[in-house]
Each structure stands twice: as C-alpha cells, then as structure tokens.
Amino acid sequence: MSRPPTGPPPWADRFLEWFCHPDLLEEIQGDIHELFTIREAEKGTTAARRYFAWDVIRSFRLSTVKNFDLLISPDMLKMNARIAFRQMLKQKVFTFIKIGGFALGMAACLLISLYIKDELAYDQHYAEGDRLYRMVSYNSIFPEAWAGHVFFPAPMAQALLEDYPEIESAARITPGGLFGGGSNTLRRADQQENFFEEGFLLVDHELLDVLEIPIIQGAPAEALASPLSIVISAKKAAQYFPEEDPIGKSLIINDELDKPYVISGVMRDMPIQSHLAPIDFLVTLTEVEFWQGEQQYWRANNYHTYVRLQEGTDVADLEQKLLGLVDKYYLPSTIAEGVNDPEKEVGEMTFGLQPVGDIYLKSAGIMDLLPHGDIRFVRLLGAIVIFILLLAVINFVNLSTAKSANRAREVGMRKVVGSQRGQLVQQFLTESTLISILALSFAILLAGGFLPYFNQLTDKNLVMPWLAWWFLPGALLGGLLLGIIAGFYPALFLSTFKPIDVLRGHLSRGAKSSSVRNGLVVFQFATSVVLIAGTFVIYQQMNYILNKELGFDKDQVVIIQGANTLGDQVATFKEELQRMPDVQSVSIGDYLPIDGTQRNSNRFGVDNGEQVIGQFWLVDHDYVSTLGMEVIQGRDFSRAMSTDSTGMIINEAMARELGYDNPIGHRLNNGRDWEIIGVVKDFHYMSLKEEILPVCLVLEESPYMISVKAKAGQMDNLLGQLQSTWDRFIPHQSFQYTFLDKEFAGMYKDVFRTRDVFISFAILAIIIACLGLFALSAFLAEQRHKEISTRKVLGASTSGIIGLLTKDYLLLVLIALLIGLPLSWYLMDQWLADFTFSIDLQWTVFAAAGAVAIIIALGTISFQTIKAARLNPADFLRN
C-alpha cells in the first residue's frame, strides 16, 4: 500500500513552472502554495490537492505564459515564410506539381462535400423530425422488389390512431399517377386555358400537421378539411392568381367541370430537399372514395401512411405491437372474401417504421415509386474524395522527401549554427501549410469555376456558399490541417539529418526514405488500377443496360400527355392521327414501360385454385404494335373478335408464374373473369436493376396518354402535324409531349450519374497520381545523371539506359497491379450484385486495366527517362 500523497501534486507544480513567465512565477506559485496550506487545514489534503491543480490550470493564461521559441513568434514565422517562398521559386516545376495536385484534390473535395451536404439535408427540416415515421410493410410472399413497400389500405391511418395510443397523429397520401396524383391539366374555373401541371399529391388534411407544411394564406385548420378542396404552393398561387387572393377561388382539374376544387390554403413552397418534392398541389382526400366501399376495404393498398409518435415511444416495441393489425384487420377481411387459404394469402406480414429523415437516402429494399438518392452513392463519393486527397498528400510527401538531399546541407548548416529540431520541424511545416493554403485558394477558384459542370454531372443546383459563416473558416481549417498532415512526415524526416554526415557528404541523396516512398507509389498506383478497372467495368455494364433487348421498341415514339381532356373526341383524334402518312400506329393508354406512368398490383385467382400477383394494365387494340412488343404465343387483341373485351394478354413472367405449358385459354380472375389469348415477350418496365414481374394487359380505357409511333425518320415532320391537329381539337390546352426513348433514358439517370461522376473523379485521381510520378521520376533521373553519364561513356546504349531507369518503376507498378486487380475485382463484383441484369466480370477487362495502368505509368516516366538517357555525358562529368 502506498501512503496517501502529501503536499501539492508535483505534476501541477512542474506544469506551472514550465509555462509560467519567470517574472510572475514567484508570486503565482507562492500564492497557490499558500492557498494549499490554508485549504489543507480547512478541507483536508485531497480537496486541497484538487484545488491546487485547478488553480494551476486556471492560471494558465495567455498573459502568464512565457515566451516559447516554438510558439508563434512573428519574426520566426516571417523568416520561415520567406525561406519557404524562396524554396518554392527555386523549384518551379515541383512547386507547381505540389500546389497543382493539392489544388485539384481540394477542389474535388469541396465540390463533393457540397454534394454530400446537400444530399444529407433531405427531410431534415422538421421540428419534430425525430418523431416522424413512415409505415413500411414487409411480406416475404411478394416478389423481391415488392417485399418491402409503403402501400397500405385506406382505413389503416384511422385504425392506427384508434388502436395505438403511441401514435399521436397519422395521415395518408397517394402519390404517383394513381387516382389523379402526379401530373394533370389545370385551369382556373373562370378561364378557358388549360395548363399541364406536375406535382399533384392527394393527401389527408392531417398531413399538413404531420409533415409540418406551413399554410401561409388561409386558415390552417380549414385547409384541405372540406371535400373538393385544394392547397397550392405560393409559387403557383402567384402564377394563377397574380395580385389576387386565391383563397376561395376554384380550379378545374382535367376539365372535370362537375368537380371544381376550391382553394382552401396556400402553402409555403415545399423545400426541394424533401422526398416528396416537387409538390405544388395538395388535393384533399376528405370524403374521397375511389370506388364503393374503398375507404373501409383492407385488401387494396393505395396509400402511404405517415405517423407522428408520442414523445418517448419505443419504436421497436411499437413495430412489434403493430403485428396485431394482421389478426384484427387483414385476416378477417381476407376471410370475409371467402378466400381458400386466407392465412397463406396474408403471408408473413410485418410492419416497420422508417424515420422520415431516412426516406430519401436509405430506402433500399423499400418500394415506394418515389425518386431517391442513394446513401451508397454518397459513401462512394466520400471514399473517392478521401482517396483523391490521399493521393495529393502522397505526392507532397514523396516529392518533399525525394528532394531532401537538396535540403540536407541547409539542415546541416542550420543545426551547426544552433537550430533546434523543433525549429526545423516548424520551418518545414510552415512550408507545407503555406503550399497547402496557396493550393486552397486555387482550389476554391477551381471549384467555383467547375461548379456549373459539376451541377450538370450530378443533376443538382448547388451554389458555392461563399457567405456562409462556416465556409471560408472551414476551408481554411481544412487547408491548414491538410498542410500539417502532408508536411508532418517530411518535416520529421528532414530534421533528423545529422550535421556531421551531411556536411561530410555522406548522405546518399534522398535514398534513405526510398522504402516509404516506394510504398506510397505502390499505394497510388494500386488506387489508380482500382479506379481504371472500375471505370471499365462500369462502362461495360452501362452499355449492356442501354443496348439490352428491352422487349419493346423505345425509338420513334412520341407520347402526348394530358389527352384525357379530349373526352369523347379521343376516338376521332386517334383516327385522324392514324390517317397521317408519317404515323405508323397510335395507342391510347397510361400504362407504359417507363417510370412515372400508371402502375398497380393486383391479385388474381387462377383457374387451378392458385393465386398470383401481377400488374393489371389497361390498354387498347394498338398497344402491342405501337410499342413494338412481340407476341410469342396466341395472338394480339383484334377488333374482329368481340370476345376480346374479356380477353387478356400476359407477359412471359406471368406465364412462368402460372406454370402452364400453354396458358392460352386459361382464365384469371381479379373480380372480373379474363381469358388468356396471348403471351408477349418479357419487356422491361421497371428499372433494369430489377427483375421483370408479371403483367396482364386488357382492353380498357385509360385516356391520359397517347403514344404515337412514327415511321422511320419522320419524327420532326410528325411533331408539327400533331401539334396543329391538337390545337384544332383543344385550342385551350397547350400540346404537351415527350419521347419514349427520352423518358426511358431518364429512368437510368441515377445509373448514368453514377457512371459519369465515378469516371470523372477516377480520371482526376489518376491525373494527380501521374503528376506525382512525373515529378518523382524527373527528380530521381536527375539524381542519377552522373551515373548515367558514366555508363554512357563506358558504352551503354540509350535504350539500355531507358531500360535501367524504367525497371525500378515497372516493379512498383507490378506490385500495385498485384494488389489493385484482385481488389477491384472484389469491389466490382459487389457493385454488380446490385443489378438483376449484369455483365459477367471478365479477366480481359482487368488485363486491359492493368495494361492501361502500366502504359500510363511508363508513359509518364518516359519523358524523364528518355531525356536522361539522351543527356550529354560531358555536361555532367566535367566537374
């Protein structure tokens, strides 16, 4: 046992003596010691010791600290900066590469940081954000793409409120094309002109409260409360009702005169960073019933359900309790329909609560038909930018240590005249931070200049936050930090030189650190190899997707939107189009194989007693031909067959699901009875990332969109004709159209974005790595000038010398390949696993990537090796 300590804590005393200015030490130390004596008597030794330490720490002030040589001394700093500038000017190429590499890396870092910040800001604006959740349903009996989804029956929100006291508030929405969400034509009730508008959402009145949507005109309590009421954004209010009070005015949607919507509120424009954005029109769900009994029906899932929980609710616990919904509602309603095996049909349903703040980035595995960001992409970018910075730092370290020989004499001399190691470290760190800060200013300019291109690349509207309080200080801090990190190793390395060795000329020039340097070069090139191979594979996969057989023909099809306002004239309109010489065929229908058109999910009873789930698409006679689908069994719809009104065409996926060798003539029932008359080849109607799910086509009206297939090369002519015909039919509504292939490409926007961003930054990283290698090879060749001269004098050939100089690097690059290729194989394998339809990894791609890496490396150093090999020995051997 050690005795309890007596007296003041010695560490505190020593600390005081260390930092305190000698003029003040006696007074301060004396007082604190005296206090210790007093307190020891009053409160005991332990407390007195504590007080003592505290007093010492409190006395550590700027005004009491002695002048440390190492701590900021303006003269020293000025001198260091001057020397640093001289060094930089002395070696312009190296300085350029150091600063340039840093600047590129930092600019990339700035841009990507802005991007990441923007992505992470989605749905973070709610005051009660930590209590806002979206209901998610999981059911393993559904196909994989739908195993997690957010579609719930109409009565779900009410049931949640009644049965679960933990749920404070609940609200529903129906987004997308279903039942009037998405895009519609709109006009003021007192005007004739129709406008095509997007961003409709059908919502409960309670949603305004749950998602904290601010009503800036009109009474919030009234907004969306009464039937047929609508809330519009401030932007749209200004557009439709300039200098008028929009409250109480009527809007007509889709020319449905019998249902005028009354504006009951104006909401503040929805932040772009919302998973629902862009939304400009909220249409009430009050007293809406899409069909008789729909509002109490538990077997149709059309509503997203959002909830706000009571404070302090245990979410995991609540998710468990929600299982009660199955027995209370889902099962009874299934039994009530007289289904054979209700338990099997309900399946293994579980419920989840997803924080609203997570919806935008973290909805992998949850089908909601909303646009999303991808947390994996954000992470990928973050990783890339860290690697780019690392590469730039490595350049700096390598060049600085390689150049050490030039500084060795200086270091030796400084030491001889009395420099301490700390001072030398300080000097080198000043140099590196200076370079880093210079690079930072270039980087900020670069980033500002490239921002428009970056926005294009990432499909964002980022702005440089010049005036944000955190921006310049943050960037400066980052620059300083990077400078210190980059300068740390060179500073320690350079300051260790022993004067005696250096001044005697013993130090082999820069060779000492070659193992570290070689390691860093290998790292740089391994990274580059991964990026090159990654670029190849990503490119291949994207090409594969774009050129994959889609099962339909996306070219030469124009889609007319908002055609529902044609009403009874639609048949005449179609006939008139079909008569045009440039038109091949015309089809009216909202279910198209592109995103943003109608989707649903139906349950069909099969004539063998089984059940299948599939899409139920309403099309017309010309659908299959207009979209260039291929009937592989049975036949297409025919006007000659009146029985086709109960006929159905299915896709191969459905045929597989049914399991019949020949499904023709078999029957499906989804409340109505259908006979299968044909099978079309599978066509991709979801993203190619996902598998093709069963689809059924029946003859039924869905009048919002008209697809027109042009004869080859006649699209430009055709558009004018379509426009004039449209204007003749509906003079009050502008002709709104898009192209099938354009919309199709839009579905892969995220895929393209991933590709373009990855490739851009991969190239940037490779450039930075090459810059470093270029400078390094220049320097190392320079070092061997004497050796090369001697060899030449003794008869070495130019090619022999090039070989000699190249050999070292070749070895490094080969090691880098050895590490990089397997790594990239692994990483790309992971990435491809995300796609249902993907290429197989081929070794040739990786071989090519390796070859490219070698060519880049050798090409980079060849400038220097060739130059070195062709030098005139006389110039270097003279002295």
Binding site: E27, I28, D31, D55, S59
Partner: protein
C-alpha cells in the same frame, strides 16, 4: 484609450487594495472579495486583475520578505498609486452626482 477606464471588478479590487493599505496581495484580496463582496473568484482572476491594474498604473507592487508558509517565496504586495486614488475619486463623484439626481429611489427600488 481605455487607460482611464476601470471595470466593475477592477474597481472592487482596487478598492480592496486601497483599504488593505500596503499589505494587499493575491490571497488577501481574494479572501476580502469573498467575505465582504460575496464574490468567489479564482486566484488567477485576482492575479490577472492586479496585473492589469498595475499596467494601467493604478497600483504598484513591491516584494515582501520571504515567508515560510510559502516555501520561501516572497509575496508581491500591492498598494494604490496617486493615479489609482484619482480614478476612484472620479468614479465616486460621478456616481454621487447621479445618485443625487435620482428621485425617490428609496421607495421605488430599495425595498422592492
């Protein structure tokens, strides 16, 4: 600028230095602050204030004889300078003038 300015805490410390007439040092001022002004401050705050006052010329300091309880260290004893006294008097006269102009302060503020 600021040379003549005296902060509230500085004024208090200066007053104690004046009152303790030549025997004031860090601890004595700190204890007086605690007992008479109900201000518990750290010794380092007192030191800093005394240094500031000395810089402004309101106090001067001399070394005492070495004492045992301080491990042989000397005390730095502070006394008020002419300039310090002038500053105190000036502040007081400003205050007196203002207090004289306040109507009915006793009933309005004093016993609220």
């Amino acid at each position: 600028m600021g040379r003549k300015h005296l902060g509230e805490f500085e004024e208090l410390v200066l007053l104690f230095v004046a009152v303790q007439a030549g025997s004031a040092y860090g601890i004595s001022v700190m204890e007086a602050l605690a007992e008479e002004a109900n201000r518990n401050v750290n010794i380092s705050a007192v030191h800093a204030t005394l240094r500031r006052l000395e810089k402004k010329g309101f106090v001067r300091s001399d070394w005492s004889e070495a004492t045992k309880e301080r491990g042989g260290r000397r005390k730095r004893l502070f006394s008020i300078t002419q300039e310090g006294e002038t500053a105190l008097v000036e502040i007081r006269s400003i205050r007196d003038r203002l207090w004289g102009r306040l109507p009915d302060l006793g009933t309005n503020l004093g016993f609220v």
